[in-house]
């Protein structure tokens, strides 16, 4: 039961792309380090976030194409139904 709850929490917060979550953590850490060193830090988050989004989209698009050779006729559990982010 605990394992199921932990998995549910992980899926709710992190979702299906853990690399994006790690990227967000690294972005905030880099911002904190730059700010602590009195360097301009505001530009790090927008650039890093857009890079994370771009690679996440490319990775998922590529995965969908590799799985069945084309895109939309490749339904996955999160395409429809209850639960999962958005």
């Amino acid at each position: 039961m605990l394992r199921a709850a932990a998995r549910g929490l992980w899926e709710f917060v992190v979702g299906d792309d853990w690399r994006a979550a790690i990227g967000v953590l690294a972005t905030l850490a880099a911002t904190a380090l730059a700010a602590a060193a009195s360097l301009p830090a505001w530009w790090i988050s927008p650039i890093a976030t857009l890079s994370i989004l771009y690679w996440s989209v490319r990775r998922e698009g590529g995965r969908r194409r590799r799985t069945s050779g084309h895109y939309v006729n490749n339904p996955s559990p999160e395409d429809d139904g209850v639960g999962g982010a958005c």
Binding site: V13, L28, W42, S45, P46
Partner: protein
């Protein structure tokens, strides 16, 4: 109402409306196929759980130091916003199927008919409605709590969420059908942009960065995210078209 409060209300309203449309489809399918009283009981129970969650965690979050609050909430909003945005981009480009409320209604109705008959309180109707509202509502509760706590206005966020539920319910009852014509993906794209924008802003601020122009940087950030998302949709759409023309 300040700009921050307006952004808070719009973000929560849109996010809640999208999730309410999806939950409404399931409750409608179960209620019209089996037993309305049990389905509505499930809705009431899930709403109560969500309200308790917000009432318990809301005040607890607002006592955290603002720096800690912003970096934690900014990070969570970023992770969440990126999920919404990625899926909206994939759907807008045709790389992922759009959420089809009519198909979801048919599927849920067929499953409800196939389930065995229930006596008294129909446990099937109750459980499916409870699960639908709770799972769809958890994301809304998260957005209400994070946005509300950061702006020190959880009641406004909760009010915006409640308004969205009321609007969707009235529209659904008037249509007596799944709300298939609601532009769900466009709304999800807007919510994704808003969550990501606020996530970047609050996360960086909480980590110690200072934004040029302070809160005036927010609209610029939003436009940047929107423009980048549009470019990603265009690029991916080209790939999808190429794949259709030259299937592997």
């Amino acid at each position: 109402m300040s700009g921050g409060q307006a952004s808070l209300a719009i973000s929560v309203f849109l996010a809640c409306a999208v999730e309410a449309v999806e939950a409404f489809t399931i409750v409608l399918a179960v209620g019209s196929t089996r037993r309305w009283s049990s389905a509505l009981l499930g809705v009431a129970a899930a709403t109560l759980v969500l309200a308790c969650l917000i009432a318990a965690l809301g005040p607890a979050l607002t006592v955290l130091p603002i720096g800690v609050l912003r970096v934690v909430i900014g990070g969570l909003l970023l992770v969440f916003g990126l999920q919404w945005l990625r899926k909206a981009i994939l759907r807008a480009a045709g790389a992922k199927a759009l959420h089809d409320e009519t198909a979801a209604f048919e599927r849920e109705s067929a499953a409800a008919r196939a389930a065995g008959p229930g006596d008294g309180v129909d446990s099937y109707s109750f459980a499916i409605s409870f699960k639908a509202v709770l799972l769809e509502g958890l994301e809304v509760a998260f957005i209400v709590l994070t946005f509300g706590a950061n702006q020190h206005d959880v009641p406004l966020a909760a009010l915006a969420a409640a308004a969205a539920v009321v609007v969707v319910t009235i529209a659904g009852l008037a249509a007596r059908a799944p709300l298939a014509r609601v532009p769900e993906n466009s709304m999800k794209m807007v919510v994704g942009v808003l969550l990501t924008t606020f996530g970047i802003f609050w996360g960086a601020e909480g980590a110690g960065a200072s934004w040029p122009g302070g809160e005036a940087a927010l609209p610029a950030l939003g436009l940047l995210i929107l423009a980048a998302s549009w470019l990603m949709v265009r690029e991916l759409r080209r790939d999808v078209s190429a794949a259709v023309l030259e299937p592997s």
